[in-house]
């Protein structure tokens, strides 16, 4: 399947990645090459095959809903790029 620069721009927006005008042709070309590689999958018949999401077909193991560790907000927030009084700071969202 071939992709257009517009397709790439649309996917980039979904992924929240900004691609500059000047980079777009090269990104599209290399993206297309990867898609060309994966298009090979269409040559194999998998009509009756159940998709595999875990190599051992394991099912999610649940644990008891119990507190195991204390909240450690200060430590966990120490890597936040902008914070104030225990809150993450973001640009103004509502005027």
């Amino acid at each position: 399947m071939s992709v257009s620069p517009q397709d790439v721009e649309k996917v980039a927006l979904l992924a929240r990645l900004a691609i500059s005008e000047s980079d777009l042709p090269e990104v599209t070309e290399r993206f297309g090459r990867v898609l060309g590689l994966v298009d090979e999958l269409n040559t194999i018949d998998t009509e009756t095959v159940v998709p595999m999401s875990n190599p051992h077909d394991m099912h999610q193991r649940l644990r008891p809903d119990a507190v195991t560790r204390q909240n450690d907000r200060e430590n966990l927030m120490a890597s936040a790029p902008a914070q104030d009084q225990g809150y993450f700071l973001v640009p103004k969202v509502i005027d």
Partner: protein, 492 residues
Amino acid sequence: MTDSALLSGSVSSLRQQLRDRVVSSEEVTRACLERIEACNGALNAVITVCAEQAIDSARKADKAIARGNVASLTGIPVLHKDIFCTSGVRTTCGSRMLEQFVPAYDATVVSKMQAEGAVMLGKCNMDEFAMGSSNETSFFGVVKNPWDLNCVPGGSSGGSAAALAAGMAPLVTGTDTGGSIRQPASLCGVTGLKPTYGRVSRLGIIAFASSLDQAGPMARTAEDCAIALTAMSGIDAGDSTSADLPVPDFHAGLNHDVQGLRIGLPREYFNDDLEQNVRERVMAALSVLEQAGATLVDIELPHSHYAIATYYVIAPAEASANLARYDGVRFGYRCKEPVDLEDLYLRSRSEGFGEEVQRRILVGTYALSAGFYDAYFNKAQQVRRVITEDFTRAFDNVDMIAGPSAPGVAFQFGAKQQDPVAMYMEDVYTLAVNLAGLPGLSTPAGLINGMPVGLQLIGKPFDEQTILNAAHRLQTDTDWHMARPQLETVTP
């Protein structure tokens, strides 16, 4: 004891010397730190060195040894790939995105090895977010192969493999999502083990593709990998995909006996695409096992060809979901002066991630997007099962499978950088093992024009013991694993 003896010894011999008090952990640790200082300028294998912390841990280990209180890795220096979270120690994942990230907790692998007495020296360079096969995608610069400074060390655990080969540590950790332990082990002439999916907890390993990621050891011998694997393994309440199975003592279980062992050689790995000189090295290694009593059996893995396409849908799809968390808000890189929230997301991610990471996020987002999910992601998961069933059928008739670890020896910088697909072919022999969740090991099989080649051994699920035994036998009968690069050190 000379420094060079300290720096080339195996974990098992070093462990004995520590227990016999012939050498102290502090001496060994200082020798490793000096080696890092001498060689890292040339190799760029280590991003962060924790000298003070390491000396402190080594002294504690020496006190424990003096009390007779020894665990499996007491006093042994280790370097961790910079993908493992280390409490209070910067963990970059090779990315600008995490350049300043200091985790609040240890990965389970790190805490388990620490509990066994290991001394952490620092953190190794790697391809950004483990996406790459040459270590050229790291934000912290390329890692050089100690066998030839013009060549790549492989990736993504290239810093770990190069550091080990250069004598900076006797034991290093890596992760392997599509070959990231086995391919650099092959290119740097060391032994590397990717355990069965689920054997080792993924808690605290910065996620790339969660259904494929698995951590494992790299060392100078299969015996050392056996020691380290037991230390790293086990069920973890923090990783619901970690296997609820007993962890064998892989070291105690080691034996030399390969009599009657049936080794499958997939026709698809030994076809005309395989370079003649790689084939010769791989066959030379296999004939050693044959002479020791193993039987070589031709087998078929008919869907091998689809592994690359399958992997390059599943891995990017899972990566695009895992990497959605980097938003410039909670942790990681944040762009300067965002005008609004959308701008904050867009620029933080575009400036924080490198080219290969962005490409994989794009491919993964595409494969998961409305209208393409069935054609790509669902389809790839179906083919994943077909590939896995090939292995299951093959294992009805053989005890393990063997082939090359990589298509060739280490290549020069830039050789495959312009074409992502050419780079992806580096993992043509390793990817299917991750898709099927199997254990795989790379062990040195000699040199081609002075550069190392690896033999890959693939085991049944949770049967790491059989491939460790075969590698151990090979390393008993040959000295390929003893070959060391002649690295001229750059003294500070």
